[in-house]
Symmetry: C2
Subunit: 247 residues, 2 copies
C-alpha cells in the first residue's frame, strides 16, 4: 500500500529560505510526519524561489537572435532571451511553441521557465542543479529530523505524442531513479521486454495528483513505496542524444 | 490523501474471462474492497488475454516489407509483420528500435506488442479498443457490485528524451482524463502556464508503483483521488498529428 499526502503548512517561500527546515517544521506540526523510507516530492517552483532563481524581465536585454525568435513565436523578446540563456539547443519551434533542451539536458517548453505564482512580474528559472537541490533538502532533513528519506524535485511538462502535462523528476537524491528488470524472465522463460521502469518519474506524477497547481501545496509525502536506496540522480533519466530518435 | 493498493487474488486470465467479475470477486475476498469513486487500473496485458488478442507467431506469414524491416532491425520477420499489421505508420526506425503509431494513434515501440508473461510462444496485441475495454469493465463492476468507479487500462512505454519506461493510460472510462486549469490565474493575476494535467496518465504511472512486472498483480485500486466524472476516454490523450512536432 502506497499513501500519498500533500504536506500542509509550508509558508510562502522566498530567496534564502531553508526548504529542508520548512519541510521538517511543517511535518512536525501535521499528522503525516516524516518516516524513514518516505519519498518527499518538492515542486521545482519553490526550490527556484528558495535558491533565488528569479529574474525580473525588466533587467533582461534581448539579443538580436532573441528578437528574431520572439517575432516568429509571438513571445516577449525578454522572455525568449531568458529561455535561450537557459538552453543548450532549440529542439522544435512552431507557432508559439518553443521546445528547448535545457543545460541539464531536459527537453521541455521554454526551458522550463514559468511566470505563474511569482509576484512582481518576475519569472522562475529551473534550479541550476536540481539533483544538488534535492540532495541539499535530503541532507537537511537528515540533519534536523534524523530521518533517511529520498527527495524528488519535479517540474510540469508536456510530452511528445500525448496531450496534457504531467510532472517529471528533475532532481533526485537518496534513491536510484529506476526499477531494474534487466535480465529477468517471466514464468514462461521469456526475457521481459520492459527493462527499466523510471520510478522517479512515476513518483513525480503520482505526487502531482495530491498537489494541484493553485492549492499552495508544493510538497508531497509518499509513504510505502520501496525504492532502491543509493546515490541516484535525475541526470540518469536524461536519454543520451545518441540514443534519442527525437532530438 | 491518496491510497494505492495492488488488488491481490486475480487468477491467471485467459480468453473469454470476465475481467470485471474477476475484479469484483478479488475485491470481495480482500480487505481493499471497491468503493464509489475508486480508480481501478488494469494492465492491458490481462485485457488482451481476456479479449483473446493473442497471436501465435507460427501462424504469421511475413510480407516482403516485413522481411525488409526485419533485416534492418534484426527482429523476427513474423514479429515485424505483427507489428506492422497493428500500426498506422512507422514513426522512427534505428538499430533494433521500431517505433510505430498504432491504429489507436498511440506512439510506442513495436505497436505495443509484448511477448512476455504469455505461454506457448504467443504474443499479446493491444486491445482493439481499450476505451471500450475500460468501459466494459466499469459497466460490469457497476452491474455486479453496484459501485461507480473509473477504470484505466494501461501499457508500459518508453518516452522521447527520457530513459526508462512508465505506464500510460490507453483506455479510460468513467472519468475525464485531464484536470483543466485553462483560464485560471495565480494569486498574482498571471494565467497559469500549466493548462491541462493528464491525470489519467499520472494515475497510470502511480498504479505501476504498486504493481511490478513479475508479481502477478495486474489490477490496482487508487482511492481518494477526486477525478472529474464523465464520459472521458484515452483517445482524448492522443495529440492530433497537426499539433505534434515529433511525429
Amino acid at each position: 500500500m502506497i499513501i500519498i499526502t500533500g504536506l500542509e503548512g509550508i509558508p510562502p517561500v522566498g530567496p534564502g529560505d531553508d526548504l529542508g527546515c520548512l519541510i521538517v517544521e511543517a511535518a512536525g506540526r501535521g499528522e503525516v510526519g516524516l518516516r524513514e523510507g518516505d519519498v518527499i516530492v518538492v515542486t521545482s517552483k519553490v526550490v527556484s524561489k528558495a535558491e533565488g532563481r528569479l529574474l525580473s524581465l525588466k533587467e533582461v536585454v534581448p539579443s538580436g537572435f532573441a528578437e528574431e525568435i520572439a517575432r516568429a513565436t509571438g513571445k516577449d523578446p525578454r522572455h525568449v532571451e531568458a529561455i535561450l540563456r537557459e538552453s543548450a539547443r532549440i529542439v522544435r519551434m512552431r507557432g508559439n511553441v518553443l521546445i528547448t533542451e535545457t543545460r541539464h539536458g531536459f527537453v521541455c517548453a521554454n526551458s522550463g521557465i514559468d511566470r505563474s505564482n511569482i509576484d512582481g512580474g518576475r519569472i522562475a528559472l529551473l534550479p541550476v542543479d536540481p539533483d544538488e537541490s534535492a540532495k541539499g533538502i535530503r541532507d537537511r532533513i537528515m540533519d534536523l529530523a534524523g530521518v533517511d528519506v529520498a527527495v524528488i524535485v519535479t517540474d510540469t511538462w508536456g510530452r511528445a505524442w500525448r496531450l496534457g502535462q504531467v510532472d517529471f523528476a528533475i532532481g533526485v537524491a537518496g534513491m536510484y531513479p529506476f526499477k531494474d528488470y534487466r535480465g529477468e524472465v517471466d514464468p514462461y522463460g521469456y526475457e521481459l521486454s520492459v527493462t527499466e521502469i523510471a520510478v522517479a518519474d512515476e513518483l513525480a506524477a503520482a505526487a502531482e495528483l495530491a498537489k494541484g497547481k493553485l492549492s499552495g501545496v508544493p510538497v508531497v509525502v509518499i509513504r510505502g513505496y520501496e525504492y532502491v536506496r543509493g546515490d541516484g540522480c535525475a541526470g540518469q533519466l536524461v536519454r543520451p542524444i545518441e540514443k534519442d530518435l527525437f532530438r
